[in-house]
């Protein structure tokens, strides 16, 4: 009995000890298990212990290192070492490009003369003729900064009929080759079945590559240029506009995500497309593949082929493309595919599924604003990813696809010029475009960086920068007749323009053969009058970017224009709201003449207009620069020879940039009569040749622009209360109504 109790008690004690051990284990725990809980890992909100010891500072000053280093090597040596070591796949502008060639004559491009017997594909011919027609072209290799081969390097697929053989020896034998230094090589296709490598099949030496479907591994940053894959039907100039005609809100279309294309049963690039059917739901996500391609597809045919092929036939590609919010762009055999440009043009936001593709012009284009960059490894997440994108973002992405398409991709010319401009930006580092210039309307090709490096000097970025244009204008009066009497219209014009509260200065451009009149002959005005003698007294000189134009706005005037101060003031206030457009009085229109199959020009009073004559118009001074530096000399010299059409050309240019019509403001009735009346220019206007010339000009200009950039408008801007039945005293611009 005693023993039994003792046994029970010792058992109880034992049980307590076990319990004690069990609970107690945790207490000595922290000490025993060391750092983990000592460093607070049981406190998830502050897991890194924020050590308070007097820790040593990082000393980032490497003076002493630099001193040692400087003794050891001089900067010049260092540069030479770099340029000798980094060749081939490690080429960079610093090591493989000779900047000194570009210093003397600026950025000029030389194209090798075409050799007889060499066949050149249509696409490459387009590239070469674009360069030859551009302002970068030089026919003198001694002046050139960049060299372009006349040998067709576009298609380097050995199985292709376009493949040029023996390219290696042909290139090596070129006298100016210089191991490819300062050369630019265009390529669309490289490698062949089965692995499609990115090797061109000849030694490109130190040449730069402008290549489609280039991978990030092979891409030499800031040296190569990634270009889009384009078909041989891609138009040379102009090109179709984007398909987005108006914005729909909410921005959803019938399908969410579509794709229609080949499926490779074997070999490189097949994995992604083979897996697409997992995501296809035949409702709003329609991803279709066909096994039918090549001759022997039946041999490799798998279990899904028949089902896929049947589904594939059910849908029309065009219909899907235009009715889908997102378009899948999976890699093909090569990284890039035609689907990319097709989707871009169709305002169908591309969903990229091509790991490692260096996207076209990635150096300057911010693709995140126009495409969804997916990851092949995460294909199954793609539907939920695109569904998670907010409406506002879709709207922005869609508009950006159109902006980029029209700015850089719609024609071979744009692709080539963009490539050249990118290289030019690298060469002339100091005057290069900023990211905003490349990625916002009107795009890098129309935004010339040597005009100014300050965004606020351009007419396009006021809203983005949150600033306003300079509140003054400079009047430029084009004078062609000698000053003989004090009643000449030019003097009246000077006085009434000078009286405008917004006028900063008046420039008289003296394009008359007679010598300059004496200073005192000009009326005394409150604003300075600057008289400039026109260069060669040609028409284009009225659009020279004179340094003396200090304001953002230019009021361009003919000497016989009749304008009142009120009209000028009103037009200027309108311009301040539309600083990127031409704002003016007399308007003209263009039309398509079906009988003659050409563009026609009309000065009749009609219900719409597409041009505003620069004899009385306000526009941004940047257009003077663009006119002088962007347009080819062929068009400018045509204008100078005819002494006509300069205003049409200016309207073409501005509409090509803005994609918008000019703006007509109200004018006093009398303007028309004077315009067509007895003044000096009347003879010119009445001359039927003059009119015929303008028709010819229109067609010549349209062919250079690759299309008709002019846009019609039916809107005129009148002062509020214009001709309204209220007291004249309440109207601010009452002069305009008076006859």
């Amino acid at each position: 009995m005693q023993a039994k109790k003792r046994y029970l008690i010792s058992l109880l004690t034992g049980a307590f000890l076990v319990l004690l051990f069990y609970f107690g284990r945790v207490v000595p725990g922290p000490a025993a298990t060391g750092s983990r809980s000592r460093h607070g890992y049981n406190r998830p909100e502050q897991p890194w212990p924020h050590f308070s010891d007097p820790l040593q500072h990082l000393s980032p000053w490497d003076h002493s290192d630099t001193e040692d280093y400087n003794v050891h090597i001089s900067p010049r040596q260092k540069r030479d070492v770099n340029s000798s070591v980094y060749k081939g796949k490690r080429c960079r502008m610093q090591s493989c490009f000779d900047f000194s060639l570009c210093q003397r004559n600026g950025f000029k491009v030389y194209v090798y003369p075409q050799q007889k017997g060499e066949k050149i594909s249509e696409s490459y011919q387009n590239i070469l003729s674009t360069i030859e027609g551009s302002r970068f072209y030089t026919s003198d290799p001694g002046q050139a900064c960049l060299f372009v081969l006349s040998l067709d390097t576009l298609d380097r697929d050995q199985l292709s009929p376009q493949y040029v053989h023996n390219l290696k020896t042909k290139v090596q034998s070129l006298p100016l080759w210089n191991n490819g230094r300062n050369h630019l090589i265009f390529n669309l296709y490289s490698g062949t079945w089965p692995d499609y490598t990115e090797d061109l099949g000849f030694d490109i030496g130190q040449a730069m590559l402008a290549k489609a479907s280039i991978s990030t591994e092979n891409f030499r940053p800031n040296f190569d240029v990634s270009i889009p894959l384009f078909s041989k039907d891609h138009p040379r100039t102009g090109g179709d506009r984007g398909y987005l005609k108006y914005n729909t809100i909410p921005p959803f279309r019938k399908y969410m995500l579509v794709f229609k294309g080949k499926r490779y049963l074997t070999g490189i690039g097949s994995d992604t497309r083979n897996a697409l059917y997992h995501v296809h739901n035949a409702e709003d996500v329609v991803l279709l593949t066909t096994c039918k391609h090549g001759k022997d597809w039946q041999k490799h045919k798998d279990a899904r082929c028949d089902k896929d092929n049947a589904e594939y036939e059910k849908y029309d590609y065009r219909e899907m493309l235009h009715n889908s919010t997102f378009c899948l762009v999976p890699r093909g055999r090569r990284l890039g595919s035609f689907r990319f440009l097709e989707a871009l043009q169709a305002a169908c936001v591309p969903v990229m599924l091509s790991n490692g593709w260096e996207l076209p012009f990635s150096e300057v284009i911010d693709w995140n604003t126009a495409a969804v960059i997916g990851d092949e490894r995460l294909l199954l997440q793609i539907p939920s990813t695109v569904r998670s994108i907010h409406q506002d973002k879709i709207l922005a992405l869609r508009q950006q696809t159109q902006l980029l398409w029209e700015a850089y991709f719609s024609s071979v010319e744009k692709i080539v010029l963009t490539t050249l401009e990118i290289i030019q930006d690298r060469v002339l580092q100091q005057t290069s475009r900023s990211n905003l210039m490349w990625n916002s309307h009107p795009g890098g090709l129309f935004t010339l960086p040597h005009y100014s490096s300050y965004l606020g000097d351009f007419p396009f970025f006021y809203a983005e920068l949150g600033i306003k244009p300079n509140p003054k204008f400079t009047a430029v009066i084009h004078a062609v007749t000698p000053l003989v009497s004090q009643s000449q219209p030019i003097l009246k014009l000077l006085v009434s323009v000078a009286r405008s509260q917004y006028c900063a200065q008046i420039i008289v451009l003296w394009n008359c053969d007679k010598p300059l009149p004496a200073k005192h002959r000009w009326p005394a005005t409150s604003v300075p009058i600057i008289v400039i003698e026109g260069e060669n007294k040609v028409m284009s000189s009225r659009f020279q970017p004179y340094d003396s134009i200090i304001s953002d706005a230019v009021l361009s005037l003919d000497e016989d224009t009749v304008l009142s101060t009120t009209e000028v003031d009103f037009a200027f206030t309108v311009w301040q709201s539309f600083p990127e457009r031409i704002v003016g009085y007399p308007a003209r229109s263009h039309f398509w003449d079906n009988n003659k199959e050409r563009w026609g020009y009309t000065s009749k009073w009609t219900n719409d207009y597409s041009m505003v004559l620069t004899g009385a118009a306000i526009y941004h001074r940047y257009y003077h620069f663009l006119y002088s530096h962007f347009l080819p000399s062929s068009l400018k010299s045509m204008v100078d020879q005819l002494a006509n059409c300069e205003d049409i050309l200016m309207n073409f240019l501005v509409s090509a940039v803005t994609k918008l019509p000019p703006i007509k403001v109200t004018q006093k009735k009398q303007y028309k009569e004077t315009m067509m009346g007895q003044s000096s220019r009347a003879s010119r206007w009445a001359d039927p040749d003059h009119f015929a010339q303008r028709q010819t000009c229109m067609n010549k200009f349209a062919s250079w622009f690759g299309g008709m950039p002019l846009v019609h408008s039916q809107m005129r801007l009148d002062p509020v209360l214009f001709k309204d039945q209220v007291s004249i005293l309440r109207k601010k611009y009452r002069e305009i109504e008076r006859l």
């Binding site: 040593q56 300050y454 983005e464």
Partner: protein, 559 residues
């Protein structure tokens, strides 16, 4: 205790017939055990703050308590960084997963003190204050997770900010010993001072397999675009010196050079520029009379005249940042802080955060070769542009350079943006300071589009009580050819329409109400968003003396 004794005295029922001596002995033992148990429970379940407050202040925060790990000589060494690594080849996205927040999870390894076989530490300095700050900031951020299994990105606690203090081989071995190293996959290393004598490599020399490198001083040949992150070299002066922001505008000097160890060749060129342009340039060097040390960092001299550094930087429009042994220079950070536009001359240098920052807006990059032309190049920049750059430089510093926290968060955000590109911050968001953000107007419909007439328009008529005028409006509007749809918003649910009243605008209270609305709305917007224009759009030929029937919009003036 009393109670137990009572129990004891009542005893026999519970503990029957025990000798008193023994009984007392057992009861004492029992009580001790019970007390021990209670004490244990207290310790276990009491709120942590009490327990930790003691321990925190004592030893929790000391680096010296981190466990010592001995690296065996034969421990494996990772491979050198693979130059072809890209996110889609060397980074495991599956670890990051799809989540609605589109945010990566970052894990920090606990601190360990690595020593080699004979007990010598792998780093002469150990954890630096900067790296501690960086890791603290990350652990306090949304990115942090303490769950290693959920992490997408791993950050070793081994400090490799300064390669000078590291033993390369042992550091590499230490990295490879990390439990989740796995060939460096998804690991991120922060390094600011790469390379060592004599060649000063531009990337960290420590072999690191596939680990991502956030490095200061990358050159175009070592930087793996889209994989590595180029970070600035942090300047500790940022924390020490408070430089108030200065308004952008012209400064006393045009160009200032404040670096001390400039190569002889470059100094000669700078001296020549100084001769040509005189007072516009200020060339500072270290003070010969001051002893080395902290004081010398904060002083600069020119011909015996002593200037305070970095304050003097605020007196210049442009400040030269020349490469030294390394491409990345801490001076860049000081210069930005001072709102001075950096003139960066370091060929092939990948500028900090160049993946997201537009350096053209805040700096001038000039090839080293063109140093003699520096003055002309800088003079050609428009004044307004210089002011923009000054403002932008200061803003870059505040947002991305000012602290280790800023540097760390920016780096993580960049990596995050690569993994969730569709949710990434836009380039403008990265580059626009808030001044611009608030003043700029970005229309959601930014594409210049002239929509065709064919889809027409939808008319929306809001009505309340005024049925007659409503019908009149409907009849008139329905005549318009391009009307696609007419939507009437009937705003009165209860009341039947009364007799037509006179024009609303004649009703005084109505106008007062509307003025109140405008004021209310303006106060909500914080500003008056409406703009006043003096023009109105009329059809061409509006009210012109012209046959009405030839006009596209006849009789519009007489309505």
């Amino acid at each position: 205790m009393c109670a137990s004794v009572k129990y004891g005295s009542r005893g026999p029922a519970l503990i029957p017939r025990m000798k008193t001596k023994h009984r007392i002995y057992y009861i004492t033992l029992f009580s001790v055990v019970l007390l021990g148990l209670i004490a244990t429970g207290m310790f276990q379940f009491w709120p942590h703050s009490i327990e930790s407050s003691a321990e925190w202040s004592l030893d929790r925060r000391s680096v010296h308590d981190a466990p010592l790990v001995r690296i065996p000589m034969s421990s494996p060494i990772p491979e050198r960084g693979d130059l072809s690594c890209r996110m889609h080849t060397c980074f495991d996205v599956y670890r990051c997963g799809y989540n609605p927040k589109n945010k990566i999870k970052v894990y920090i390894y606990p601190l360990q003190r690595f020593v080699d076989e004979v007990g010598v530490p792998i780093s002469s300095t150990g954890l630096s204050r900067e790296y501690n700050d960086l890791l603290s900031a990350i652990s306090d951020s949304d990115f942090y997770t303490d769950d290693v299994t959920r992490a997408c990105l791993f950050i070793p606690s081994t400090d490799v900010l300064n390669q000078n203090s590291l033993r390369i081989r042992e550091t590499a071995q230490a990295l490879a010993m990390l439990p989740r190293w796995d060939k460096g996959m998804n690991h991120l290393l922060f390094n600011m001072l790469p390379g060592g004598p004599p060649d000063y490599n531009t990337a960290l020399d420590v072999p690191r397999d596939r680990a991502l490198l956030a490095g200061g001083g990358f050159s175009t040949w070592t930087y793996r675009q889209g994989y590595d992150v180029s970070i600035p070299v942090y300047s500790p002066l940022s924390a020490e010196v408070d430089l108030p922001e200065r308004q952008p505008g012209p400064r006393r000097y045009f160009i200032l050079s404040s670096q001390t160890a400039i190569h002889r060749e470059y100094r000669v060129e700078l001296e020549r520029l100084k001769e040509e342009n005189g007072e516009a340039l200020l060339l500072l060097d270290k003070c010969s009379n001051l002893s080395q040390g902290l004081a010398s960092v904060r002083k600069r001299c020119y011909k015996g005249q002593v200037y305070d550094y970095p304050q003097i930087l605020q007196e210049s429009s442009f400040c030269v940042v020349l490469r030294g042994a390394r491409l990345g220079q801490a001076t860049l950070s000081d210069v930005l802080q001072a709102g001075c536009v950096p003139v960066i001359m370091a060929d092939s240098y990948i500028l900090p955060f160049s993946e997201v920052l537009d350096w053209k807006r805040a700096s001038v990059v000039i090839p080293e070769e063109k140093l003699p032309e520096m003055y002309t190049i800088l003079k050609s920049i428009p004044h307004r542009q210089v002011e923009e750059m000054q403002r932008q430089a200061r803003w870059f510093w505040e947002a991305y350079f000012s602290s280790m926290k800023a540097i760390g968060m920016t780096t993580l955000q960049i990596i995050n943006d690569r993994i969730y590109p569709y949710a990434a911050r836009t380039y403008e968001e990265w580059n626009n300071p808030s001044v611009v953000k608030w003043s700029s107007v970005n229309s959601p419909l930014f594409l210049p589009l002239i929509p065709p007439r064919s889809p027409g328009f939808t008319a929306v008529v809001l009505t309340y009580d005024r049925i007659e005028s409503l019908f009149r409006v409907i009849t008139e509007i329905s005549k318009v050819p391009s009307l696609a749809k007419l939507l009437v918003v009937w705003n009165n649910q209860n009341k039947s329409p009364p007799e037509a009243i006179d024009g609303l605008s004649l009703d005084q209270t109505h106008m007062v109400e509307r003025s109140e609305c405008i004021n209310k709305f303006a106060s909500v917007f914080g500003t008056m968003p409406l703009k006043v224009v003096e023009h109105r759009a009329d059809p061409v030929l509006y009210k012109d003396d012209f046959p009405e029937k030839l006009k596209s919009f006849p009789n519009i003036g007489s309505l």
